[in-house]
Subunit: 235 residues, 2 copies
Amino acid sequence: MKNAILASTSTLHGQQYLSYLLPEIAKLFKGCSEIIFIPFARPGGITHEEYTSLAKKALQSISINVKGLHEFEDKEQALKEAQGLFTGGGNTFLLVDKLHRNNLMMPLREQILKGTPYLGSSAGTNIGGLTMQTTNDMPIIYPPSFKTLGIVPFNINPHYLDPDLHSKHKGETRETRIKEFHTLNTQPVVGLREGSWLEIKDNDITLRGTLSARIFTVGKEPIELASNTKLTSII
Amino acid sequence: MKNAILASTSTLHGQQYLSYLLPEIAKLFKGCSEIIFIPFARPGGITHEEYTSLAKKALQSISINVKGLHEFEDKEQALKEAQGLFTGGGNTFLLVDKLHRNNLMMPLREQILKGTPYLGSSAGTNIGGLTMQTTNDMPIIYPPSFKTLGIVPFNINPHYLDPDLHSKHKGETRETRIKEFHTLNTQPVVGLREGSWLEIKDNDITLRGTLSARIFTVGKEPIELASNTKLTSII
């Protein structure tokens, strides 16, 4: 009963917030007059109110009202009653900390498994995986656990970035980091490039957008998965 | 009684491991015939043995023998008896996890405060700060705490990278990440560019290398600190 979009990024270069994804969002939230936005990742430290306004403005054009989860006294109940759910990007450590400390991770998971349409972007996509351990973010807060929603049976690396072959910088490439993850963890990792998203319908997971995704599996060479292909190889 | 070098990176583009820093390392470890290498950060998942061999080979040219901390049954005692200490780079989460789980973080700190010469590079430099929370690494393991050595009264961001003004990538810049850190944490952050290092002599901390460092302080615009300048403004 799952119905979700997990997008690598909310915004493409030179575009407005969510604009490239609006046709898909309209389909995902078809029939919803209002959805709940989870603003806890607070990019750049903006307030929950400011961040919710941004989402509200973006979804106005497809006639969907947005309320922030922070506005509700009983947040678990709010999740249960939501017509649709959207978790925005920002800092994944902060998002995961806030969800765990408010005991909202499992209730959120349950609603998604029951079929409430879910949209994630960036950090909101990262938490769709088994753990947040393939995030690119800085550990600005110490969360009670790195476990996340697990609505897909692998980990996700949003904003996946190919190595810059001309770079003289000695910091690790994204691929090196994911390989380090695989020295200690066994789940596959999907490197989602900006402009790509995973479309989840019940048990089908399909890569959408124009780009391929890079799939990392323990003990194997990474492979490129073409757009509009199901992720059957790793699920 | 502190005597330490905290280097942004072990290796510069096109050079051998540690080669740019060897003259400084020779001065730091003057009088030491053997030092202990802490290989726990295991870059790319290499073994403790492989990583220690790399350090051993690099320090051979300045006639210093290297033993890996993993070789010792009583690691705390080994730290106490060491003539010099060197923590290599790799994954900071892994390094911090291993140090805390083996109850070695505080003993290591004590030895450095007592004056045992200490060299850190990358992750080994990051742990010189108050917490590891300005690392660039992926959280591939969940450490018991983010607290680190605190031999300098601020946090360090190694491999500091200036924003690429031509990039179309929407992942956060390093500066944005550090500003997010400052929405929740108050300690200053020193962004150390590759090729820079902090020289610590007792209570003096001096920026060395050819580049400036970027200093982030809560509520202020970041400033550039020139090379060969003391970090008096933030300590």
